[in-house]
């Protein structure tokens, strides 16, 4: 029997997983223009300041339908920047994350609808107040049971973690007996109330008023509580010039009336009861697709880069694990056990918030994201590599060695090509796991797909539909990846 197969190059077969990778990466790159969630504004000259802000605090900061950052804080800051001649680079990473970033000098300042408190004034320097805040209670539109603070007796109230609403609610608890649920984002609070997991929520009046205009399905009840003022903050003793510029610019905007225009643009008919007709599902889908696709790009890109790095590291540690050297094996074991034995999120927080404190310079969010995914992935890939090498019949190496081939040549030409074929399905599986795990990076404010979805439903309040859409996008992306992987695998093992 004569086979008509073309003589295959021995190098082509082991490289097949890499070919797959190359194809994927090419897809990511062609789909990607600029990464990250930074938007620059202001004049072309002057210093550039990195400003941290909340991710979902409409109307102070939120993503518009086009996926771009907008809101009262954003417009104010950029108007001031223009007047004072500096540029702004936004890090919209969530309220708590922004403050952590400020403390570790990852950002120069934070403007995030943040109340000026004595506690905060001890660790940050505040600007002149730029907004007077009130806290207000809100309940679902159809709820007539709760109309005053006293009606909260025996109920559950959602508040924002670490914010003034939490402090004030605790004060109220001294007079009225109700339960507190502390949540991280305004959207989550709204959703918690709408799903009945809390009876009411307490948040800043402008936030709630804006939500009503956007169809949040809530109504404002009870007397608002005056809670003082919002201020822009820099780290204690740092960025004095930025703070002075902010104060000067703010005064100028108030003088010219531009300040009122900006605020009115977002609050408008603040207490209006008229709920606008929400857009249809497909209108909404069209509106939010650009933002979600940008998130998908970042998801694919960070996963692709991290997978390449994880492959390199995983191969290295996998070889170390099968080496005869006790020290190398020991190092590989420690690496694998550490990264398999710790949650991904711990490392995401460590690389983004903890590491700058050690090395003294800020860590780029892409670097932190790639490191997190790559090191975790490398631990699993190292085990896949070890398993692949060890599952090649020992007789193969013996035959190669008995021909006089050295250890290196035996590995490279005989053992590894076969090991790679065995490893391919597991490697593809690992790639899919990493793609899904990349959604955890939203916790440090990395603008991947799920993070973008949060931004979207923070401003349109269509939580259920948006999450369905996101799940569908993930599913389709992973399904396509699996099909491609199966195709490549069939090619290899034919």
């Amino acid at each position: 029997m004569v086979t008509h197969r073309q003589r295959p190059s021995p190098r082509r077969r082991p490289a097949a997983p890499l070919v797959l990778l190359g194809v994927l990466l090419a897809l990511f790159l062609s789909a990607c223009t600029a990464g990250g969630d930074t938007d620059s504004g202001g004049a072309a000259d002057g210093p550039t300041y990195t400003i941290g802000t909340d991710s979902t605090f409409a109307p102070f900061e939120f993503r518009g339908p086009d996926g771009e950052l907008t809101g009262i804080d954003v417009d104010l800051m950029e108007a001031i920047a223009e007047k004072q001649g500096f540029q702004v680079e936004w890090e919209s990473i969530g309220f708590n994350a922004a403050l952590q970033a400020l403390s570790s000098d990852q950002v120069d300042g934070v403007i995030a609808g943040m109340g000026i408190t004595d506690e905060r004034a001890q660790v940050y320097d505040f600007s002149d107040p730029y907004f007077t805040s009130e806290l207000q209670l809100a309940v679902p539109e159809g709820n007539d049971e709760i109309t005053s603070w006293e009606d909260l007796e025996g109920k559950t109230v959602a508040v924002k973690t670490g914010s003034l609403s939490e402090d004030e609610a605790k004060k109220k608890q001294e007079e009225i007996d109700f339960e507190l649920t502390s949540l991280d984002q305004s959207t989550t609070m709204v959703q918690t109330v709408k799903t009945g997991n809390a009876d009411a929520l307490m948040d800043d009046r402008p936030v709630l008023a804006y939500g009503v205009t956007q169809g949040s399905g809530l109504k404002l009840v009870a007397e608002p509580i005056n809670t003082g003022n919002y201020g822009f903050a820099v780290n204690k003793g740092m960025n004095e010039q930025l703070l002075a510029d902010f104060n000067a610019g703010l005064a100028e905007l108030k003088e010219s009336g531009e300040y009122d225009e900006i605020v009115a643009e977002y609050l408008g008919d603040a207490a209006g009861d008229g709920t606008p007709e929400p857009p249809s599902f497909f209108e909404m889908l069209t509106q939010i697709m650009p933002a979600l696709l940008k998130g998908l790009q970042n998801t694919l890109l960070v996963t692709g880069i991290a997978f390449l790095a994880a492959m390199a590291l995983g191969l290295l540690f996998g070889f170390m694990k099968v080496s005869g050297n006790v020290l190398l094996r020991g190092i590989a074991n420690i690496f694998i056990n550490v990264f398999r034995g710790t949650p991904l999120l711990v490392w995401a927080f460590f690389f983004y918030f903890g590491l700058p404190g050690i090395i003294g310079v800020p860590v780029n969010i892409w670097v932190a994201g790639v490191l997190t995914l790559a090191l975790n992935g490398a631990a699993y890939i190292a085990e896949i590599v070890r398993g692949g090498i060890q599952s090649v019949d020992a007789g193969q190496a013996e035959a190669a060695r008995s021909l006089g081939l050295g250890y290196g040549k035996t590995m490279r030409r005989v053992v590894l090509p076969q090991a790679f074929t065995i490893m391919t399905p597991s490697l593809i599986n690992q790639l899919i796991i990493m793609l899904k795990d990349s959604s955890l990076l939203l916790a440090i404010g990395f603008a991947e797909l799920l993070y973008q979805a949060q931004q979207v439903y923070a401003s349109n309040f269509r939580v259920t539909e948006v999450l369905f859409i996101v799940a569908a996008i993930y599913f389709v992306a992973i399904w396509l990846l699996t099909q491609l992987a199966n195709f490549v695998e069939r090619k290899i093992n034919k």
């Binding site: 077969r13 193969q396 190669a400 008995s402 081939l405 030409r413």
Partner: protein, 259 residues
Amino acid sequence: MKAPVNDTRPRPEAESAAPKIVVEDLHKHFGDNEVLKGIDATVAEGEVVCVIGPSGSGKSTFLRCLNRLEDLTSGRVLIGDDDLSDASVDIDEVRRRIGMVFQHFNLFPHLSVEENITLAPVELGLATKQEARATAQRLLERVGLGDKAQARPRSLSGGQKQRVAIARALAMSPEVMLFDEATSALDPEMVGEVLQVIRDLADEGMTMVLVTHEMGFAREVADRVMFMADGRIMEQDVPERIFDAPQTPRLQEFLSKVL
């Protein structure tokens, strides 16, 4: 400790030649298990030695010590002038001169038949790709597989695979060939074609050590038969005397079972 009861020398023509392999007091342990308990042996140039014995007697381990696929626990193995017990010896260089054929063929499944044969000569810089391919074709014709150069190992029968494995070993122009139960994994109808190739090698004067269960073949092709049991060489002699006049009770018992 010396086990041989009947230390008859090999055939005169082999006796006169220089020893190719010298084994002195070879011991091999696997953990606490002593598999070889002091082996002394010589193989002369051009000599064909068949090693027989019950399973677990250490014959395969003994063979694998001859190219140090197994590390030696103690004792010496000399291949020509090279002492395998010396850690500084270039073992890869020595192995080039010793071809080995395995029970399970161990062809490289990701390479074609031709690539199996040319891999080592080309990788080690002993031949250009073109020369190696010419050699491979010549060797394949010699083992009766001239039309299989581009085939994949998995498309071959067991007997064909083993003949390719022999061609692969021969491509290194070895001075010695070791066969580790080369026909044990074959279907009966394929044993003959492999034995024929080995027989041809013997006729050409190749120095060979064969661990085998084919008693008829051992009788026919061997210059000398070694009987091993319990990690020792119990008896060695020309085939006629081993098979027709066994001296030790162990060999008598063994032959009564296998013949």
